[in-house]
Symmetry: C2
């Protein structure tokens, strides 16, 4: 009980997906509790009173919120294997910068493509191509963003790579196949990892969640 | 030259102030370069091409961007004295969460109070009171957010505490004196530190910067 690990989650969430991948990479057993976002649990409200959103990791009865902080916490507590963040201060700073970039730029532009009106959606698409090219440059010829080992930046980005696949399937918007071949190969490489494959929602699940959100937002 | 430390900065910036305080706490000598934000330098554009904003720390010729990442980098590289972040993973995660909260909530609501139209400004004021009460609860009876030693959260928050003083002086909006006495005492305690006192812009300087921004924004 004392060491119990609980994850409050919502399956299609890209941020929840990050926490799942990090836990899987470290081989941590946990109790997985899924939230109904239209009727959030008392536990979620209690454990994340500020933002009231998933994911929340509960460890030894204490909550850790925000997916990038959850990944770092997991890496520091279960530090016996598979380090997710680099040790070198400059490489750590660079990884943190890229994750912050993904949160601020890639996420916001992706939401524009999902939810925006015509002009905003077009702007979102242009921005996503620009951000993808930047990330392709950062990746270079490496296997993963952290050199040869899968880690922090890969975990943070791959749920959005999954969104790109959904855009291609459902919105006929192909971001990276032609523009960013290295990023596409990186994405496929990530999808072949067990930790990623088992944690990612399918394109259908993401699209269904989008339709549900859209319905909810229309009703607001 | 190899170990040279340079800070690209703008004196009234709360984010630049954070970097200055962290460098002062560690006793690091550096070259201080101030930016004219209406005519940014080539060096700034080269060192922070994504966001093109201050602060940027340049160490051994490499750039570190975003103030919270800069503080962590400084703490990791100059780790011989005055740790700024806690070692315990849970306390680290909590500190990171609070700094993220300050960036997202306190900063955004403060900007509403600065720049918003009447209704938005009133909303910003209400929000700031709510956030201040939350932070007062997190501080509790401790001297600083990180128990008895000045650190990461204090450095991140004190530039905004300085804004609260400006609001009181120039906008007759007194956020915390009556509502949050412990937070006020914390602020005064921080202002008495050499690292903070020497790094903070004066109320007059902040207000002048606000007027300049407002002029610029009105012309847009």
């Amino acid at each position: 009980m004392a060491e119990e690990v609980v994850l409050l989650d919502y399956w299609p969430s890209p941020f929840g997906t990050r926490a799942r991948i990090a836990l899987a990479e470290k081989g941590i057993s946990y109790i997985h509790k899924f939230e109904d976002l239209s009727n959030k649990s008392h536990l979620l409200m209690k454990m994340n009173p500020v933002h009231q959103r998933v994911p929340v990791l509960i460890h030894k009865g204490k909550s850790i919120c925000e997916s990038d902080i959850i990944i770092q916490y997991i890496d520091e507590v279960w530090n016996h294997s598979f380090p997710l963040l680099p040790c070198d201060p400059y490489q750590r700073a660079k990884a943190m910068f890229l994750v912050d970039f993904i949160d601020k730029k890639v996420h916001e532009s992706s939401v524009k493509v999902w939810m925006g009106e015509a002009e905003e959606q077009e702007n979102g698409k242009k921005e996503l191509i620009e951000w993808s090219k930047f990330l392709e440059g950062e990746l270079g010829d490496k296997l993963y963003f952290g050199e040869d080992t899968f880690g922090f930046v890969d975990i943070a980005l791959v749920p959005f790579y999954n969104w790109f696949i959904v855009f291609k399937t459902f919105a006929n918007f192909n971001i990276i196949e032609t523009e960013c071949p290295k990023l596409m190969m990186w994405g496929d490489r990530c999808l072949n990892r067990d930790s990623v494959f088992k944690s990612l929602p399918t394109s259908d699940q993401v699209y269904q969640a989008y339709l549900e959100f859209q319905k909810g937002w229309t009703h607001d």
